[in-house]
């Protein structure tokens, strides 16, 4: 594997990709900061009447701010209410019907922004429910996650403050000013590329076999694809997700959907810098992210490009890389980049069959999720999880220079470390315990397909995906049994609600602290040294996964190398 072994197309795509993102980051980030600071934007004349109507309807005073516990309480109440609506909608959609445990799993999955789909949506869910329930909750899940990140940002930006914002206002503004306009534009673009958007009937066509008519399900697809990528939700209209030509028909739709996944996370990072009045911090985090993401992206691409060693032995031409399970219109390069970004962000949409990836690539995808979805990560969740790691790094670095650790002038105390530890530990615990449970129980083993090693990897992938709210799956695992639907639901709840409350508690502890003035701070968190240290801390946090990774991806890799 050398740098040259990757085709120019991959390098070109990567360079163009980040060039566009880095250009978009500043204006969008500035705009987002204005939105969440309650300032006037160019959309205010259009959206304000709607916004005010929502506040009036909900009896919300937008001027009234909340302390962390009120914010967290509202967050939980909102999530529960959302869940209840979604659950009932899924149960009551009539035919086709979904088992209650599956409906619960879907509910929690969409509520947490995971968008893990244990059913084929185009078969099991009506277009109406897809649009009115799943798509709507994609907006709300993304906006909620965004709100949590903004609340944490405020707690760092403010000094001596008791409140961290108003959840209802943050969600409303996030949807009206950020998600809706972006998705509206992106949907139109996707429609131009041929993504379906219709209230029309299922189209029946006769293909090569005249006796078997094919029924092509259509519906409001483009609008749902837009929010699934922009909101880093990942739940497809079709089971085949972005591999389906109705969702992702052209290379351009592919590339723009890739961009859409990272657009808000990267812009939010900039907005963070604006809100704390120190943009260098954003760039430091960005640098640390790229320091890890680029090598991992390279690793996936290089592994896939080198092709399947078993086929190489057989003399199969693999100059196009490991094409198994990939759409030819995306190719190995496109699919590698997509898989990197969909697992780096918490999106989890897929454009290829992940189980056909080589073990190295699967292993990297696993690591990307197990990092806690911090490399850009989900909209909002990526930032707040990353900030938790920044605080951890600050803690260690602060001790090492003999200072009470502080970030942006706020000391990191005992309670903060409690919450930080919880946020870092929780996904690891649910992933490992869930995986162990599925390999030891008959119910768990029943869902696995293929060899033991493949089954283990499938389970590990499923629990890593659910615990970190990613939502992508290694095809092969039959996750529709109550065992998986319920266990994975628990993981998803821990991953979003558990961590969300911990993050808000952290914000509640940071906000009242007095910020040390800039001139009196000792640790510079923007130096190359700190950036490298942050990356290393992130990597170290994946160590508990190492035994399971060794027995899954690494094990499969050696088997493949040995010619099995």
């Amino acid at each position: 594997m050398t740098f040259l072994s990757l085709p120019l197309a991959w390098w070109g795509q990567l360079a163009l990709f980040f060039a566009i993102l880095l250009i978009a980051m500043k204006p969008l980030g500035l705009y987002m900061a204005r939105v969440f600071s309650g300032e006037r934007t160019f959309l205010t004349p259009l959206m304000q009447p709607l916004e005010n109507a929502i506040y009036k309807l909900g009896g919300i005073d937008p001027k009234e701010e909340m302390g962390w516990s009120a914010y967290a309480k509202s967050f939980l109440i909102f999530s529960f209410a959302e869940g209840l609506f979604l659950f009932l909608a899924l149960l009551e959609q009539g035919s086709p019907s979904i088992d209650p445990h599956l409906a619960l799993n879907l509910t929690i999955s969409f509520l947490t922004g995971t968008d893990w789909q244990a059913v084929a949506p185009e078969i099991s869910i009506t277009p109406m429910t897809q649009m009115t329930s799943l798509a709507v909750h994609n907006f709300l899940a993304a906006a909620t996650s965004l709100a949590l990140a903004i609340a944490l940002t405020r707690s760092l930006a403010r000094s001596d403050a008791q409140t961290i914002g108003n959840l209802w206002v943050d969600i409303t503004r996030g949807v009206l000013y950020i998600l809706l306009p972006l998705c509206f534009l992106f949907s139109l673009f996707l429609v131009s590329q041929g993504v379906v958007q219709t209230f029309g009937e299922t189209v029946s066509v006769t293909a090569l076999e005249p006796e078997n008519a094919e029924h092509l399900v259509t519906g409001p697809v483009a609008s749902q694809v837009a929010i699934k990528q922009i909101g880093t939700n990942g739940g497809g209209y079709y089971n085949a997700n972005a591999a389906h030509p109705f969702e992702n028909p052209t290379p351009l739709s592919h590339f723009t959907q890739l961009l859409a996944m990272l657009l808000l996370p990267i812009a939010l990072l900039y907005a963070f810098g604006v809100m704390i009045h120190d943009k260098r911090q954003s760039f430091a985090i960005l640098a640390s992210t790229l320091l890890l993401l680029l090598p991992l992206a390279f690793l996936i691409a290089a592994a896939e490009q080198s092709g399947n060693p078993l086929l190489n032995v057989m003399g199969v031409d693999q100059t196009l890389g490991n094409l198994e399970g990939k759409e030819l219109r995306t190719g190995t390069t496109g699919a590698s980049l997509w898989t990197t970004m969909t697992t780096a962000t918490a999106t989890g949409s897929v454009d290829s069959a992940l189980n056909a990836f080589l073990p190295t690539a699967t292993g990297v995808a696993l690591v990307l999720m197990q990092l806690g979805e911090v490399l850009f990560g989900g909209v909002g969740s990526g930032l707040y999880s990353m900030l938790v790691y920044v605080l951890l790094t600050v803690f260690l670095a602060g001790l090492m220079i003999g200072r009470t650790p502080e970030y942006l002038g706020k000391t990191v105390g005992v309670f903060d470390m409690k919450m930080i530890s919880l946020v870092i530990l929780l996904p690891a615990l649910t992933t490992l315990l869930g995986t162990a449970l599925s390999v030891t129980t008959a119910a768990g083993q029943a869902g696995m397909t293929g060899s033991q090693a493949q089954g283990l990897t499938q389970a590990l992938y499923a629990f890593s995906s659910a615990s970190n709210n990613n939502g992508s799956a290694l095809n092969g695992l039959n996750a529709a049994s109550p065992f998986y639907t319920l266990l994975l639901s628990l993981c998803m709840i821990a991953g979003r609600l558990g961590i969300g409350v911990a993050v808000l508690a952290l914000a509640g502890s940071l906000a009242p602290k007095k910020a040390t003035p800039v001139t009196k701070r000792f640790l510079d968190t923007t130096t190359p040294l700190f950036i490298v240290m942050l990356s290393l801390c992130l990597l170290m946090a994946t160590l508990p996964y190492l035994p399971s990774l060794t027995l899954s991806a690494t094990y499969e890799h050696f088997h493949l190398m040995a010619g099995n």
Binding site: R403, L543, H559
Partner: protein, 684 residues
């Protein structure tokens, strides 16, 4: 710093720390402790019941695990020993005040000298010139001038006498002249030093915030690793190929893996690090009565120094002679020396020293012809009568009065000089021979030695210094420049100090206050760190959270350094511990897994001989590294006053990279040694 020698009984005494009730206070080590118990029980069960592992392996494993726990106990016991030795040494050096307890209040020639801690309320005690007053009391006989600068911060002596409102004397002040008989009014009992040491011990039992935060993080890490190890067995068992079934991973392997990975280096040394920090402070002569304060010390950004007694010696010293009109300067100098020969106060001595160094006038040995006139509170002058000359020195008004009475005259130019000296904050001391005034001596507060250098060091450490004084701005500026403080506040009253501290704290400064007077007490209590001088007032010492036994304000350098080292040592060893897990995982995972999953054998890239030896080597490495790092824990990670960035880079290189490299080298070496020994044994 050299490590102190240790008492061999240490090895034996460390065993008592293996009590589970003690171990549970340190969660990381308690997890290892449980592992050791588990393996021991597992081994016993295998001796009694069916055996699936060799006895030698079980024994070696159990012993190594216990060694790990013991290494931590040893480190803690060693640190505790050092701490106690340090406290003893401190007590010896700053022993009790001696009190002269009188048998009868009316016979001042019959007394017994005893430790001040034995005084009881109502005891009559004799105090003579030069004595430190050993207890609070009321004067029942005599009149004396007392230096109360240690308490009030006021350098001019005060007059106390029996009967009046001024009869109370305060413990810790010093008698300058005459003698008094005092009736003790408050029971002294346990010495303040004893009390403070006991407070320090008590304070240490509570974990400090940073220590607590780090412990939490370590517990979380341990928990994560515990689950990672515990889930390894079901995952591995599930994978074991039906075609070539092998035994599942044994309990002993799993426990060993967990113990190796757990952050035992920092966990094992954590208690020792804290103890060593406070004993380093003790060595510097500082008693901290709050553990929190020691940690906060590292964060200080602003140091407030009271002038009198802190920056300056508190006792005034002669700095210049000004002869009156028509008097040869040398005449004034010689006369001043004669008048000071019997004056044992620092002021008097300083006159002789100044004459010696500036004018080369050697003091004549006292002879029988000299009749000394001691200083008394009544006359406020002292001097000598010699060959019919009466040379007197004293306060300007007292001398003037005498001269005028004897028909002499003080020239106006000298009056101007007196005024100038007074305006500069100095004290003029007038010298006269018979009815003729010779001139004045300028007495001035003198800055303590070495303070300028220490303040410069503090500046490099990021701590600014600020002097607070009641003096006028002119005097304050002069002393500030001389002492090298960054800034000063003049004409401050006690309330200003506290208000100033609160203001600075609002601006985000972490303020340390060094003071000694009773009027400093509120400021000492309000500052983030209050450091009182041991020769200071009782109130100051009680308000402060640190007491400097040597009464040197430059101690702050040591205090800041110990505070920072404490955090640095914990942070660096935690980093070392956790960074080591990379190597340990890469070495141990293959060792644990390969026999069950031979296809993973390419992972054994370091070519370890056998899984059992590898694991034993790793465990031994774990235990030995604790012992090897005891010196680091005791001394603390080296602190240099360089920038934070440099410090971080250095510690990351040494303890981060070092932590990654150490297991690879250490475990491989021990593995090779074990292989050699086993080979040797096989030959025998």
């Amino acid at each position: 710093m050299r490590l102190p020698p240790f008492d061999p009984s240490l090895f034996l005494r460390s065993f008592k720390r293996l009590d589970p009730r003690h171990q549970i206070k340190n969660p990381v080590m308690f997890a290892v402790y449980c592992g050791a118990v588990l393996i021991t029980l597992d081994g016993l069960a295998q001796i009694l019941g069916p055996r699936h592992e060799s006895l030698a392996w079980g024994t070696a494993l159990a012993l190594t695990l216990w060694l790990t726990v013991y290494a931590s106990a040893l480190a803690e016991q060693y640190a505790e020993d050092q701490d106690q030795a340090q406290a003893l040494a401190l007590k010896k050096a700053h022993g009790d005040d001696i009190a002269k307890k009188m048998y009868h209040a009316n016979n001042r020639h019959a007394f017994i000298a005893l430790s001040a801690s034995h005084l009881k309320k109502g005891d009559p005690i004799l105090i003579e010139a030069g004595d430190t007053i050993p207890a609070d009391g009321d004067i029942i006989e005599g009149i004396a001038s007392i230096d109360e600068s240690a308490i009030t911060g006021e350098s001019a002596p005060v007059i106390r006498e029996s009967g009046g409102d001024n009869r109370a004397v305060i413990c810790g002040t010093r008698l300058l002249s005459d003698w008094i008989v005092v009736r003790v009014t408050s029971f002294r009992g346990e010495t303040p030093l004893d009390k403070r040491l006991a407070m320090m011990k008590k304070a240490r039992r509570q974990k400090t915030p940073n220590e607590l935060a780090l412990s939490l993080f370590l517990i979380a890490t341990t928990l994560g690793l515990l689950v990672a190890c515990a889930t390894l067995r079901p995952l591995s068992s599930f994978l074991i190929e039906q075609a070539a079934p092998s035994l599942p991973i044994s309990l002993s392997m799993l426990v060993s893996l967990f113990v190796c990975l757990a952050p035992t280096t920092i966990g094992g040394l954590m208690p020792a690090i804290g103890l060593a920090g406070s004993s380093r402070l003790l060595r510097a002569g500082v008693i901290a009565t709050s553990g929190h304060a020691v940690e906060t010390a590292g964060d200080i950004t602003l140091l407030l120094l009271d002038k009198t007694g802190t920056i300056t010696l508190g006792n005034r010293q002669a700095v210049a002679f000004y002869a009156a009109e028509g008097i040869a300067p040398i005449k004034l100098v010689k006369a001043s020396v004669l008048a000071s020969l019997a004056d044992k106060t620092p002021e008097g001595q300083s006159i002789i020293v100044l004459a010696q160094t500036r004018y080369g006038v050697e003091p004549a040995p006292p002879s029988a012809t000299m009749l000394f006139i001691p200083f008394s509170a009544d006359t406020r002058v002292s001097g000598v009568t010699l060959d019919g000359r009466t040379i007197l020195k004293g306060a300007d008004d007292a001398i003037k009065e005498r001269i005028v009475r004897e028909g002499g005259r003080v020239p106006a130019s000298l009056d101007t000089q007196v005024e100038t000296i007074a305006r500069q904050g100095g004290t003029p001391l007038m010298v006269a021979e018979n009815a003729q005034v010779l001139g004045v001596i300028h007495l001035k507060d003198v800055v303590k030695k070495g303070i300028k250098e220490r303040l410069a060091t503090l500046r490099i450490m990021g701590v600014r210094s600020l002097m607070i004084t009641g003096d006028n701005p002119l005097t304050a500026a002069a002393i500030a420049a001389e002492a090298g403080v960054d800034d000063f506040i003049a004409q401050a009253i006690p309330e200003t100090k506290l208000r100033f501290i609160t203001e600075k704290q609002k601006e985000g400064e972490v303020v340390a206050m060094v003071g000694d007077g009773a009027n400093d007490a509120p400021a000492l209590a309000g500052a983030d760190i209050g450091i009182a001088m041991d020769n200071g007032s009782q109130e100051a010492k009680e308000a402060a959270n640190m007491v400097d036994m040597d009464s040197s304000p430059s101690k702050l350098v040591d205090i800041v350094q110990v505070g920072r080292q404490l955090l640095m040592t914990r942070g660096s060893l935690a980093t070392f511990s956790i960074a080591g897990d990379i190597g340990k995982f890469l070495i141990l995972l293959p060792a644990v897994l390969i026999s069950a999953h031979p296809s993973l054998s390419p992972l054994n890239f370091m070519n370890f001989s056998s899984p059992h030896y590898t694991i034993l080597s790793a465990l031994l490495f774990n235990a030995l590294i604790i012992v090897a790092l005891i010196p680091v824990a005791m001394r603390g990670v080296a602190y240099r006053p360089v920038g934070a960035g440099k410090l971080l880079r250095r510690n990351l290189l040494v303890y981060g990279l070092g932590g990654i490299a150490a297991p690879f080298i250490g475990i491989k070496l021990i593995d090779m040694a074990i292989a050699l020994i086993v080979k040797g044994l096989a030959h025998v």
